[in-house]
Symmetry: C2
Subunit: 489 residues, 2 copies
């Protein structure tokens, strides 16, 4: 038993504390909980079954919301001819430094090299210009679930920055700017719903600055979460592309009044980096902690027995309980491996972040009860089997609410205010977080701040964005708006 | 109205007959029914919403079957370093002629070029060798849903041969050959279930010859369908890889008896080419005909009215019927566009292959009935609304059965037998189909036949594969087995 505990500690357990070395802690949790692994391709990772199944839960949630709003899924080619990628110049400038290029197929050199999509605006919109002729073809609401490649030169980090990642990208075309504006916000709300109600991740929402908006967009709306080291993480973005792409790709339609006009477009996406955010925000020193609604397994049942005859009875009872819970829609598994002790299993499932554990032993059975363990607070309680279903349903909801509240508290505590540049830099050094400032809104000013401190504008609030000082905290010009700055992932 | 019908015919309708020009007919059905479109990237297509939603139905069906058998989904990198792809020599020889290569990322030339996966054996198995240590790690049962690229030099064809396509690839590792054999057959059965019970596509199953097996496999099991032009189409394959890859990638495990052994592996896949098979087999001169279980919309409701006051009542009733059918699990939509006539809608939904249409007009409503139209036979009947649910459930099952029977009859009629090479060539010219022959089984012999006639061994039956003649129909050597030859897609 001592040996086994040793093995658990060194092989399975997390050997550093979250509060002491976040980066090493994060890597250990991701690898040891079975979310992902490094691959032999530099900067690319393997999504392991546990990590991928979380992505499936995210996808199911989001996909049904998007479909309910009238969006349809489609799939466009992985490759983008260079000439197409170049058509919208701001877009090309933004993405070309991180494009992977295919230059030969089989034994032949290609006449034109092909970009592997870093995002699909250009390959999609060349089709949109073919398909959209009349106001009757609008709105066009397409989404795709795919892989994209961005040839990062910065250090990569599992889930948070990899050269290939999985995401969804929505691309819509509308008759008017107002409709496109509305779509941008509708999607922002869907993303917030996903973050708050599935992932228990509270976010700040607002607009990106000129320097931070999507390459080729009119404006970008964003959702920003806070990580334990005080750095922000962009959890999703929703862009109004204006008519920038429709002009570059000649996407025109005949209006009801028989006039020819360019369409207004939006694009928006969230990616598997959400899984990284999930780990960072909710994990603890025992490993991953999954919010119940996104957990691929919500309840793990561990049968405990000391003899073969006990085993039969207990496993039988475990199966009955499993089936009862399954049939009410809960995601439940029994860990009945006979080469692992209950203690070993406790540790493994805690590491993997399963929200609730049921322990069923001979003594519990005598009393028609089970031990219920909740992963977020590590608390145990004894529950009568006859009460189990309502108790578990309440418990899962409670775990979600408590996890969300804890995260929201941290988000709120991470927001501070700086009167001037010195205070700003001081706060950046001490804990970071979101720092509210009165800002001039000039691209030149934000570039200087980013170069000098590494912090960027994370968002400008939609409302109540009046500056609280007359002059910009950095350059001293007239302050135009309130902005949230932070360092970021 | 005359003008409109003209427009329907030229824009929407199929302008050639299936029996007269299959290739042109196929292309028109795929494009005009909204399954797919050509893209600006040579050899790559766009999966439109209608085509992609059929893929989603296929994926949902297969994914739940695979998960029920213990398989888990994961995701591996798109890129394979050239040195990895080379590790299993037969595999590399088979795939290297059709690999697309990434040679630079951003502005930098890569040190080693990266293949875009044509299939993922090599990038997966380098990980398997890291993960698999003991018999306790077996079986390892992983699957991925992804995109692969094969740089075809032959003419491409929507769904049936494109340079990028979507598929699933399963990759398992086992302790013994027997287990791997069993897995190969289990998957073959799952695929047959998918083909027969979801897609109404009957197939022949059997083993591939040496010349046709997967590059690097011990043997390949296959499912073969017949197309209307007498050419076969490989609908799915399941390979026993033996220890070929485990030796090349050093995937060894410690047995219960503490010995070190190489694992036995399988891989298997089906792709979006199934959608092409669906079109080919079931389509008619009005367009696509979808088997009900895979149809994204099973029932389309067309409200028919001649005044605004009628419209209100009829649309209201249509919605009631829709909700009744939805709540019993059917996939139903109402086409209430007010800029199209009922006739236009009839044509469009027939073209798109929706199995059942309900027509609801003022006269029907008076009699509390609706007109039910079935797409496969083009027959109409009148059904009382109170009987609608059981009638439709029976009808959808009946459509599936009838479509399957018709296709099975064609498959059976496509099989003939040839005594000698002359008869073989004659039959190949006249209608093609599967030609049963007594065959020597030699690679050299099958290569000659393929070069001379374009026909290949499609399969060797699992059972009853005794040759009916003593000597090979082609080369005159001793006949070893019964083989089915055909030209193929």
């Amino acid at each position: 038993m001592a040996n086994e505990m040793e093995e658990i500690k060194t092989k399975l357990g997390i050997t550093v504390k979250k509060e002491e070395d976040l980066s090493e802690w994060y890597q250990q949790v991701v690898l040891k909980s079975g979310l992902a692994d490094y691959s032999p391709v530099s900067g690319c990772m393997v999504y392991l079954a546990w990590g991928y199944s979380i992505w499936e839960e995210i996808r199911n949630f989001l996909d049904s919301k998007l479909k309910a709003l009238g969006h349809k899924n489609a799939y466009f080619p992985l490759f983008i001819p260079e000439s197409l990628l170049k058509k919208e110049s701001e877009h090309f400038k933004g993405f070309t430094p991180e494009v992977a290029w295919v230059e030969s197929g089989g034994k032949e050199k290609l006449e034109e090299r092909l970009a592997i999509r870093p995002t699909s605006e250009t390959i999609m919109y060349v089709m949109y210009s073919k398909w959209i002729k009349s106001y009757r073809d609008l709105p066009l609401l397409l989404n795709q679930w795919n892989n994209v490649v961005r040839w990062e030169t910065k250090a990569t980090k599992l889930f948070l920055r990899t050269r290939e990642f999985l995401w969804q990208e929505g691309h819509t075309a509308h008759a008017t700017k107002e409709e496109a504006d509305r779509e941008v916000l509708t999607i922002l709300n869907v993303y917030q719903d996903l973050l708050v109600n599935l992932l228990a991740i509270p976010v700040l929402v607002g607009l990106k600055s000129e320097g931070e908006k999507f390459a080729g967009a009119l404006y970008t709306a964003t959702l920003e979460a806070i990580m334990p080291d005080g750095k922000a993480l962009q959890a999703g973005t929703s862009h109004n592309l204006g008519q920038n792409f429709s002009r570059a790709f000649d996407i025109q339609f005949i209006t009801k009044e028989q006039k020819k006009e360019y369409v207004w477009q939006t694009s928006w996406g969230v990616s598997t980096r959400l899984i990284g955010a999930l780990v960072m925000i909710h994990g603890d020193n025992k490993g991953l902690v999954l919010p119940p609604r996104v957990a691929p397994i919500q309840i793990i049942i561990i049968p405990i027995y000391y003899s073969k005859s006990q085993a039969e009875v207990i496993i039988q009872k475990s199966k009955e309980i499993k089936n009862m819970l399954l049939s009410s829609g809960l995601r439940v598994e029994i860990d009945d491996r006979d080469d692992k002790t209950p203690g070993w299993k406790f540790n493994e499932w805690e590491l993997k972040g399963v929200p609730v554990r049921l322990e069923i032993g001979p003594k519990d059975l005598e009393k028609s009860s089970v031990v219920v363990f909740r992963r977020d607070t590590l608390q145990k309680s004894v529950v009568q089997i006859s009460d189990l279903l309502p108790v578990l349903n309440n418990l899962l909801n409670d775990i979600h609410q408590k996890m969300l509240e804890r995260a929201r508290k941290k988000l709120e505590e991470s927001i501070s205010q700086a009167e001037d540049y010195n205070e700003f830099k001081e706060k950046l050094e001490k804990g970071g977080g979101f720092i509210k400032v009165s800002w001039c809104g000039r691209l030149e000013c934000e570039s200087q701040i980013k170069n000098e401190t590494g912090a960027s504008v994370r968002l400008i609030p939609f409302e109540n964005n009046e500056p609280f000082k007359e002059y910009c905290f950095h350059c001293g010009e007239k302050a135009q708006k309130l902005a949230y700055f932070a360092k970021s992932y």
